[in-house]
Amino acid sequence: MELFQYPYMQRALIGALVIGLAAPALGIYLVQRRLALIGDGVGHVALTGVGAGLLLNRSPVLVAVIVATAGAITIELVRARGRTSGDLALALLFYGGIAGGVMLVGLSDSTSANLNAYLFGSLVTIQTTDLITIAVLGAAILLTMLGLRPALFAVCHDEEYARVSGLPVRTLNLLLAVATAVTVTIAMRAVGVLLISALMVVPVAAAQQVTRGFRSTMAAAMTLGLFAAGSGVWVAATADTAPGASVVLMAIASFGVVAVVAALWRALRRRAVPSAAPAAEPHEVVLERS
């Protein structure tokens, strides 16, 4: 525990906790509209921004925010047009993004350790200014995702209905795209571009195994994200493992624990009240999850 007396470990912990809370709050909307892996794609694009920032001697995170936002808006526009070629357009964008990033980082004569820091995260090198950026942007994401929950839920749940309700559907979609880019960029320092999606998606996937509504899923996912971030940093500090990977593995472990506990609980309940649950439900019940 004494490791947490060092300021760099405190910064790492606070940064991880902010991201652990904000990433699932955004991720739940992405999962709901079946774009769970979009964060991954935006992360690939953000890497080009990092490379450009290093090459131009500008703040890599700042340039990454700009490039990732442009990438996320492009992805949203391709998605909204609903063309069948959208799939391939996204692939071009993703691989172009990561190849461009690797190439630009190479040109900027930074060390390969520098590239690794963005690919896999580098929590312990977070400076106070980085932490302020993470905290401010993280708070903005949280406030937006919680404050606009009814509208964002409606758009992600049934976009046509939202349009007939007169909601500003395009603005809300672009807002989500920008929020994804911002979350990806601040999470980049914690878990790296290759693992960002995990923090957005895994806590949601874990939570929805036991929750019944959208609001409770959101609350549970944020709690699990917070837990994964805190325990992941602690594991990294005590066992001297990579912090980003430890955070993601803790999130996946919590998914496994929730799955086992939920299965046991269902089995126990079925034994306690035989046939109560299934008989009460009509035959065309859908319990499919994907």
Binding site: D158, V164, T211, F214, P282, E284, L287
Partner: protein, 253 residues
């Protein structure tokens, strides 16, 4: 007292150059309950989607409550009930949460839900007979109950016009009755209805006018046509490809 609610003038819609609606004109006035009838692919769903602005007209015009569609902003006056929920999702949502979406047209994006919103959601759920399911995940409801949830969502906004796309397709008898009851209450309260239907079933007594669409044109506009041929047989089981054979509920896809 009767004023135009929906007016379509010489509407034409084409997908990829293939005409789906050719020169359709239709008007619905206050208090009418109009059924759009027609076979699969006749263009009846396209017609209501173009009225709601979900499908662009390639020529002709639509007015809603005496305003051109492009300048229409009073969406709280319209309640839309889609055929099913488009993209399903893995994230659970309760019946109450889905129905609460129906209040957004009145409330706007930024204002949080208040007592009036909750009261309207409760009333809408009672109207369709699902008040006791408000906290259940929609995915655990039957297809008919899910359809009633979508109707409650539309009613929660207290609209003046309901637009329904095949509300009773693949819906069990109990839900059809509950649905007809809710629609009857809405009509008694002065509401206007435009619905697409394949078969009218228990809705039949409510319908004041029928419009039959065939191959993209209106071929009948007037009294509800009597069922003919094998459709008239009392035990005729109306099975069609996207109807009762649906393997799962509306929220899966």
């Amino acid at each position: 007292m009767t004023s135009p609610v929906i007016t379509v003038t010489h509407g034409v819609v084409g997908y990829d150059g293939r005409p789906v609606l050719r020169d359709v004109s239709l008007s619905v006035t206050t208090g009418e309950v109009v059924a759009l009838l027609g076979a699969n692919g006749s263009g009846k769903s396209t017609l209501i989607r173009s009225i709601l602005g979900l499908v662009p007209l390639s020529s002709g015009s639509v007015t809603l409550f005496d305003r051109p569609l492009r300048r229409f902003r009073q969406w709280h006056r319209i309640g839309y009930v889609p055929q099913r929920l488009g993209a399903g999702s893995g994230v659970p949502a309760t019946v109450g949460e889905v129905v609460a979406s129906g209040r957004l047209a009145r409330r706007g994006v930024l204002r949080p839900a208040g007592a009036a919103d909750r009261a309207a959601v409760d009333a809408a759920l009672r109207a369709v007979g699902l008040a006791d399911r408000v906290r259940d995940p929609v995915a655990t409801l039957s297809g008919g109950q899910q359809q009633r949830t979508l109707i409650a969502r539309a009613l929660a906004g207290r609209p003046e016009l309901l637009v329904l796309d095949e509300p009773t397709a693949g819906v069990d008898a109990e839900s059809q009755e509950a649905f007809a009851g809710a629609l009857g209450e809405f009509v008694d309260g002065g509401g206007t209805v435009l619905l697409v239907a394949h078969e009218l079933g228990p809705l039949r007594p409510l319908i004041s006018r029928a419009v039959v669409v065939h191959a993209g044109v209106v071929v009948h506009d007037g009294a509800v046509p009597e069922p003919a041929g094998h459709h008239a047989e009392p035990d005729h089981d109306h099975v069609h490809p996207h109807g009762p054979d649906e393997p799962a509920g509306l929220w899966s896809s």
